[in-house]
C-alpha cells in the first residue's frame, strides 16, 4: 500500500532525535561502566597482591621449605607442591563423578530420581565449605586415624562435584537433539552416542565447568584445616598430613611476625598465578584439537 510505504520512508528519513541519541549514549556508557565495575575488584586484588607480594618472591621462596621463627629466608615450596597434590587427588575423584552424574542427568535423568539428584546437587553447592571439611573429617580422618592429603582431596572433591555435575548437564542439554538422532540413525548405540557424540560436541563447555570448579576449590582453606591439616616439611604420601598454600597463607597471616606476613602475601600471589596458569593451560591444550569452523 502506498500510504504505508510513504509513512515508512518518512520514519526512515526523519532525523534521529536528540533524546534517542542521548539515551543510546547513556545506555552504552552504563554498560561500559558495569564492565569496569566487574573488572575493578579483580584488578585491584591482583594489583595489591603484586605490590605486597612480589618483593618476597625469590628462588628460595619457590624451592625451600619454611624456616623456624626468627630465621630469615625459607619458602613455601612444600605448600605449592602440596596444593597441587591435593588438587590432583580432588580432581581424580571429583571430575569423573561430576561428569558421570551430569551425563546421567542430561541423558537419562528426566524423571523423579533425576530431580532428586538435581536438588541434592544444588543444596550441596550451597553447603558452607567448613561443613564439607567436617564431613571429610568424619569419613576419612576418623577412619584412618590421622590427617592426610587424601582427606583434603576428598573434601575438595565433594565441593567440585555439584558444580561439575550441573554445568555438564547444562552443556549436554545444549547439544541439539538432531545431533543425537544423526548418530542413532547410523546405528550407533545409545551409550556410544552419549560418549562419542554428545559429550564430544559439548567438550569445551564441560571443560569450562571443570575449570570453574577447580579454580573455586583451589583457594579453599576451611575444608583443609582439619583434613590435610598442613605440614612444615615435604610430603608425597597420600595418607600423611600435607601442606597447602591456602593453609600456609592462613597460618602466616594470623601470626605476629612481619617476615611471615610478607611471605603470606607472596604465597597468595603465587596461588592466584598458579590457578590462572592451570586454567589457561587446560584451555590451550583442549582448544588445540579444535577444527576450523567447529562451534
Amino acid at each position: 500500500m502506498p500510504e504505508t510505504a510513504s509513512a515508512n520512508s518518512e520514519v526512515a528519513t526523519a532525523p534521529i532525535s536528540l533524546w534517542r541519541r542521548g539515551s543510546d549514549l547513556l545506555a552504552t556508557a552504563a554498560a561500559a561502566a558495569a564492565v569496569v565495575l566487574v573488572l575493578l575488584p579483580l584488578g585491584a586484588v591482583f594489583g595489591y597482591l603484586v605490590y605486597k607480594g612480589i618483593g618476597s618472591i625469590n628462588w628460595a621462596f619457590l624451592t625451600q621449605t619454611p624456616k623456624p621463627v626468627g630465621e630469615a629466608g625459607g619458602g613455601m615450596a612444600n605448600a605449592i607442591a602440596g596444593s597441587a597434590f591435593i588438587l590432583l587427588i580432588a580432581s581424580v575423584i571429583g571430575v569423573p563423578i561430576g561428569i558421570g552424574a551430569g551425563i546421567y542427568l542430561a541423558e537419562y535423568g528426566r524423571n523423579q530420581f533425576g530431580n532428586v539428584i538435581r536438588f541434592t546437587a544444588d543444596v550441596l553447592n550451597g553447603v558452607p565449605s567448613i561443613v564439607v571439611g567436617i564431613v571429610a573429617y568424619a569419613i576419612v580422618v576418623l577412619t584412618q586415624g590421622h590427617f592426610s592429603a587424601l582427606a583434603g582431596g576428598v573434601a575438595l572433591a565433594i565441593m567440585m562435584i555439584p558444580t561439575i555435575t550441573r554445568t555438564t548437564e547444562e552443556m549436554l542439554l545444549l547439544v541439539p537433539n538432531a545431533v543425537r538422532e544423526a548418530a542413532y540413525g547410523l546405528g550407533v548405540s545409545r551409550w556410544r552416542t552419549t560418549l562419542s557424540i554428545t559429550l564430544r560436541t559439548a567438550t569445551s563447555g564441560v571443560i569450562t565447568g571443570v575449570m570453574l570448579a577447580f579454580a573455586r576449590v583451589a583457594g579453599e582453606t576451611a575444608p583443609l584445616l582439619f583434613t590435610a591439616f598442613g605440614n612444615q616439611y615435604w610430603n608425597w604420601k597420600i595418607n600423611q598430613p600435607t601442606a597447602a598454600l591456602s593453609l600456609q597463607i592462613f597460618s602466616y597471616a594470623i601470626s605476629p611476625f612481619d617476615e611471615w606476613h610478607r611471605q603470606a602475601w607472596a604465597g597468595a600471589l603465587i596461588l592466584i598465578v598458579l590457578i590462572v596458569a592451570a586454567v589457561s593451560a587446560v584451555r590451550i591444550v583442549a582448544g588445540r584439537g579444535m577444527l576450523k569452523g567447529a562451534n
Binding site: 528426566r110 541439539p176 538432531a178 545431533v179 543425537r180 538422532e181 544423526a182 548418530a183 542413532y184 540413525g185 547410523l186 546405528g187 550407533v188 548405540s189 556410544r192 552416542t193 562419542s196 557424540i197 564430544r200 560436541t201 567438550t203 579444535m290 577444527l291 576450523k292 569452523g293 567447529a294 562451534n295
Partner: protein, 252 residues
C-alpha cells in the same frame, strides 16, 4: 542392492495420541517412493517407524509389521542393528559439529568399531563421490569441520554419512526443505543415481519434487494412508477424492 519394503498394519502412538492408523503398503526395491500430505499427517512418523527412530522419543511406541527385504524390523532384531541397514537423512542437515568432514562420513563405521584405515579412506572417498560432494571438499577433508560447509553441502555430507555404512534402504525426511533451489536440484539428481543401489523412501512437502524423483507416491492424511500408486496416476487421475483435493490445492 536395495531391497523392497513391506509394511503391514502399522500403528504408532505418541503417549495416548495415535499418529498412524493401520498403514499397509509396499515400496519396491531400487525405486523411489514419495510420501506426501499436509503437515501433521504422520509422514515423518511413518518413515521414522521404518528404522525404529520413532521409539527414541519418550513415550512413543509402534505396533505392526515392517519387513525390509528379509529383515523383520519389529521382531527379533535390535533397533541398533536395524538402523545400520537403513540409512536416514533428516530434514535439517545435522553433521557432527566437532568432527572433520572425513570423520563425519566415517562416523557410522568408526563408532561401531571399524578401524581399518585404508578401507575407511576408500569408503569415505566413494561415499563423498556418490553424494556429489567429493570435488568440493577433497582438499579440506581433515582440516575443516562438517559444520563449516554451506547448508546444501552439509545435507550432501549427511547423505554421504548415511551411505558410508552401506545401507539397503535410504529414508529421506524432507531432505530439501531447508535448501535453496540449486542445492535441491543437486540432491534430486543424486536421488536419481542412488536408486541404482538403494531403495529410497522420501517424505516431501513439495509435490513437484515428488513427481520429479519418485516412481510411486503415497498420500497421507490424518495418520492414514489414503492411496499409494504410480506417481503419474496420483497426480493425474487419483482414485480418491481427498487426494485430488490435496494435489489441486483445495486444502493443505
Amino acid at each position: 542392492m536395495g531391497v523392497g519394503i513391506k509394511v503391514e498394519k502399522l500403528n504408532a502412538w505418541f503417549g495416548r495420541t495415535q499418529a498412524l492408523y493401520d498403514i499397509t503398503m509396499e515400496a519396491p526395491a531400487n525405486h523411489a517412493t514419495a510420501i506426501i500430505g499436509p503437515s501433521g499427517c504422520g509422514k515423518s512418523t511413518f518413515v521414522r517407524c521404518l528404522n525404529r527412530m520413532h521409539e527414541t522419543v519418550p513415550e512413543a511406541r509402534a505396533t505392526g509389521g515392517v519387513k525390509i527385504g528379509e529383515l523383520d524390523v519389529y521382531n527379533g532384531t535390535s533397533a541398533v542393528q536395524i538402523r545400520r541397514r537403513i540409512g536416514m537423512v533428516f530434514q535439517k542437515p545435522n553433521p557432527f559439529p566437532t568432527m572433520s568432514i572425513y570423520d563425519n562420513v566415517a562416523a557410522g563405521l568408526k563408532l561401531n568399531g571399524f578401524h581399518d584405515h585404508a578401507r575407511l579412506d576408500e569408503i569415505v572417498e566413494r561415499s563423498l563421490k556418490l553424494s556429489a560432494l567429493w570435488d568440493e571438499v577433497k582438499d579440506t577433508l581433515r582440516k575443516k569441520s562438517g559444520a563449516s560447509l554451506s547448508g546444501g553441502q552439509q545435507q550432501r555430507l549427511c547423505i554421504a554419512r548415511a551411505l558410508a555404512v552401506e545401507p539397503q534402504v535410504l529414508l529421506m525426511d524432507e531432505p530439501c526443505s531447508a535448501l535453496d533451489p540449486i542445492s535441491t536440484g543437486k540432491i534430486e539428481e543424486l536421488i536419481f543415481q542412488l536408486k541404482e543401489k538403494f531403495t529410497i523412501v522420501i517424505v516431501t512437502h513439495n509435490m513437484q519434487q515428488a513427481s520429479r524423483v519418485a516412481e510411486f507416491t503415497g498420500f497421507f492424511l490424518l495418520g492414514k494412508l489414503i492411496e499409494l500408486d504410480k506417481t503419474e496416476k496420483i497426480f493425474t487421475t487419483p482414485s480418491d477424492k481427498r487426494t485430488e483435493d490435496y494435489i489441486t490445492g483445495r486444502f493443505g
